[in-house]
């Protein structure tokens, strides 16, 4: 059985087998926010493949509530950037039908807490269609969901339901943490032959970064691989999406205490790149995994358990989890006390050293 450890399913043309050297010659760097990087990725895919179309609530003239689809309807027309009726199951369910006829629908769910009316179509239909038909029917639907807290919003606008989808066989779940990844992971996600859910870290939409938009700016990295975003030798922090910048800040703070912390950005939550995590924890012997979603039943538990199975004898301490409490996401005035932050992550790092 062949597997896809390195090659993205439906790779963007020019994907090299391994990471290409980053030289000035082939690069085209642009400074973009995450939101603009995704917008650019959507535009580039709409331009590259006439079967790509966007569907969602308010994504047309308004450009989406976060303006991620700004300008796309004007450029590609109302048949390719479709303002749908206000119904999430309808958006996902009709995307499945469109995909059965050769389209690559990219659905936008307006907020994380509003994916649930579409949950039935995602889990009982989208995730299972390929297996149900023994691969005869591919349904390359991409679902973009802004997720996570920290934006001071009201209920249902700050959730992190990624574990529910990662738990569902047949879906690929990815989440970028920076503008460059947002651009390339969005493009690679759309080109995947499998259904892909892209969780977009909404509190980082305005985070700027350099994006290499040249033809092989992806440098051979698949959307379904983790990446070491900071090298270190003493402990590893594994994080994704909105918490990657927090993990990096924690690593920087720890460096002042003379600790060398490696940070891994998981990027893909299904499949999880366990090989990359294993390599890191076997180097450092310690790991803290952090996410905004509740710790209980979260992906951190799966990661800790799997690495214990694979790397038990390399561990200097138990793998610790820093996640949300097992609560409904709190009201905005107390969300700060809920969200994993630099101190909570550093405390956990300390505990792995004290063990």
């Amino acid at each position: 059985m062949t597997t896809d450890t390195t090659t993205p399913a439906g790779a963007v043309p020019g994907t090299a087998a391994g990471p290409a050297p980053v030289t000035g010659a082939g690069t085209a760097l642009e400074t973009l926010t995450i939101a603009k990087a995704i917008n650019r990725a959507l535009a580039d895919e709409l331009a590259a493949d006439e079967k790509v179309l966007l569907m969602g609530e308010d994504i047309g003239s308004l450009g989406g509530v976060y303006r991620v689809t700004e300008g796309l309807k004007a450029r590609f027309g109302a048949d390719r950037v479709v303002d749908s009726p206000l119904a999430e199951s309808g958006i996902i369910g009709t995307s499945i039908g469109l995909a059965l006829r050769g389209y690559r629908p990219v659905a936008e769910i307006q907020f994380d807490g509003f994916v649930f009316p579409g949950f039935n179509q995602i889990t009982t239909q989208l995730a299972k269609m390929h297996a149900r038909t023994r691969g005869a029917a591919t349904v390359p639907v991409t679902i973009r969901i802004p997720y996570g807290g920290g934006i001071g919003s009201i209920e249902h606008h700050s959730e992190s339901p990624e574990a529910l989808f990662a738990h569902t066989a047949g879906l690929r779940v990815i989440t970028p943490s920076n503008a460059h990844d947002a651009y390339w992971m969005t493009r690679q996600g759309i080109r995947s032959q499998d259904p892909v859910i892209i969780f977009e870290p909404k509190r980082r939409y305005w985070l700027k970064g350099e994006v290499d938009v040249s033809a092989d700016g992806h440098r051979g990295v698949s959307a379904f691989q983790a990446q070491v975003v900071r090298e270190g030798t003493d402990a590893t922090i594994a994080a994704w999406g909105p918490l990657v910048p927090v993990a990096l800040a924690a690593a920087n703070a720890a460096a002042e205490d003379g600790r060398s912390i490696e940070v891994i950005d998981l990027r893909s939550l299904s499949p999880v790149d366990f090989d990359a995590l294993q390599a890191s924890v076997e180097k450092t012997g310690r790991m803290v995994v952090t996410h905004e979603a509740p710790t209980f039943g979260g992906l951190g538990g799966e990661i800790a358990a799997r690495l214990m199975e694979r790397s038990f004898l390399h561990l200097e301490a138990p793998i610790l989890r820093v996640g949300g409490f097992h609560l409904p996401y709190p009201p905005s005035r107390v969300e700060e006390q809920y969200l994993p932050d630099l101190d909570r992550i550093l405390d956990a790092v300390d505990r792995t050293f004290a063990y």
């Binding site: 059985m1 062949t2 597997t3 896809d4 450890t5 399913a9 439906g10 179309l53 048949d79 749908s84 009726p85 119904a87 199951s89 309808g90 996902i92 369910g93 009709t94 995307s95 499945i96 039908g97 469109l98 995909a99 059965l100 006829r101 050769g102 389209y103 009316p117 039935n120 179509q121 009982t124 239909q125 299972k128 390929h130 297996a131 149900r132 038909t133 023994r134 691969g135 005869a136 029917a137 591919t138 066989a169 047949g170 690929r172 995947s192 032959q193 499998d194 379904f224 299904s270 499949p271 999880v272 366990f274 090989d275």
Partner: protein
């Protein structure tokens, strides 16, 4: 977008010389052409009204549909027998509803699509799917037995009404591709209470898509009667709420079903927007072999509906019209018998689903995790074999 819809509804209404409202609202009475004794009703008794009158289909269409009807009944009863013999896990029979099954498939052209429910096996087979392949899901070999794209038939759906949205998506694709595809999307009376029923009808109407929603109102959702699903004047009346046309038809009258659906397909293909057709019928057998229908309905009611049997009715009608000869009848019966024996043969043949197949199709390329798990299972199985 909604302006276009109104224009087209208005155009369809104008072509019949009636108001858009009268076009969208179902006729005052059920459309029925042949009564339960097999005699043709007078025009007044057919429930026809201006804009809601339906010409009797061509003789050869009627005979061809009857041929499939005879096969459909045989398929249902053969499958129920196979379940009793333990050759299949479950079979939701459409015994009593075969006229609906046949009409749903017969009204479609080559490029058209059908989205069936678990109960619509006869429609699936009538559309050309191999009977044994169609039974794969009920036998428990796999969750789908054929390629939906090859047959333009969705895999029979269990989560109620999910398939209606897939149908609407396929119709949306047809519109974008400039194809004149028509999609028939099937569901039951109980399923009309589900949210996806609403979303599907609304999407189809708003995007003005070529879909016929075909509801078999067999009076029950397992044990729950229609009165617990809706207090609307009829299910067909729901259409007007979406800005589409609705019609009610006798679901045991194959002639009326073909007449209504054939006109429907023509209108929908011509751009008149989606349509909702409610067929009144009855599930003669229990919901499935696992159900006990005596707990929620009286035998007298079943008897009443047995008298309205769609097969007997059509046979009398065609015989009286001189279209169906003894010779044709026995040929159709023989063909039905051949399908039944193919089913018996296929279902009695031992099959050994390979558990490794489970890992092969979850993703287009198996993930490292699945590769690992498939190796784990292979190892476990080889140990079992060795011991």
């Amino acid at each position: 977008m909604s302006d276009d819809v109104r224009t087209d509804i208005a155009e369809a209404a104008r072509s019949f010389g009636i108001t858009p409202e009268d076009y969208m609202l179902p006729a005052r009475h059920l459309i029925r052409i042949v009564d339960q004794d097999g005699t043709v009703l007078s025009t007044e008794e057919q429930g026809a009204e201006p804009g809601h009158d339906y010409p009797v289909p061509a003789d050869e269409d009627l005979l061809e549909a009857y041929r499939r009807l005879v096969a459909g009944r045989r398929i249902n009863d053969q499958n129920s027998a196979l379940v009793r013999q333990g050759r299949m896990a479950v079979y939701p029979s459409s015994h009593g509803q075969e006229a609906c099954q046949v009409a749903a498939a017969a009204c479609l052209g080559e490029g058209d699509w059908l989205f069936p429910t678990y109960r619509d096996t006869v429609a699936v087979i009538s559309r050309g799917v191999d009977p044994v392949e169609a039974m794969t899901i009920f036998r428990g070999d796999w969750h789908g037995g054929f390629d939906p794209r090859q047959h333009k038939v969705g895999i029979q759906s269990t989560p109620l009404t999910t398939q209606l949205l897939h149908a609407v998506g396929v119709a949306h694709a047809a519109r974008l591709r400039g194809e004149d595809t028509v999609v028939v999307a099937m569901c039951g009376d109980g399923a009309t209470s589900e949210g996806d029923f609403h979303e599907a009808l609304n999407f189809a109407a708003v995007f003005h898509l070529p879909v016929i929603f075909f509801v078999q109102n067999n009076q029950y959702a397992i044990s729950v009667p229609l009165a617990r699903q809706t207090v609307a004047p009829s299910l067909a009346h729901k259409a007007v709420g979406y800005g589409m046309a609705g019609e009610r038809v006798d679901g045991n009258d194959l002639v009326a079903l073909l007449a209504v659906l054939e006109r429907g397909v023509r209108l929908v293909r011509g751009g008149a927007g989606p349509l909702l057709v409610e067929a009144h019928t009855y599930r003669i057998q229990a919901h499935t072999n696992a159900d006990d229908a005596t707990r929620y309905r009286e035998d007298a009611e079943v008897q009443e509906w047995l008298a309205k049997d769609p097969v007997k009715r059509m046979r009398t009608y065609l015989t009286d019209r001189g279209l169906l000869t003894e010779e044709l009848q026995s040929r159709y019966e023989q063909e039905a018998e051949d399908i039944a024996s193919a089913l018996r043969e296929g279902m009695n043949r031992e099959s050994t689903p390979d558990p490794q197949d489970l890992f092969a199709h979850v993703y287009s390329v198996p993930t490292p995790q699945l590769a690992e798990q498939s190796a784990m299972l292979a190892e476990e199985l080889s140990r079992e074999e060795a011991s």
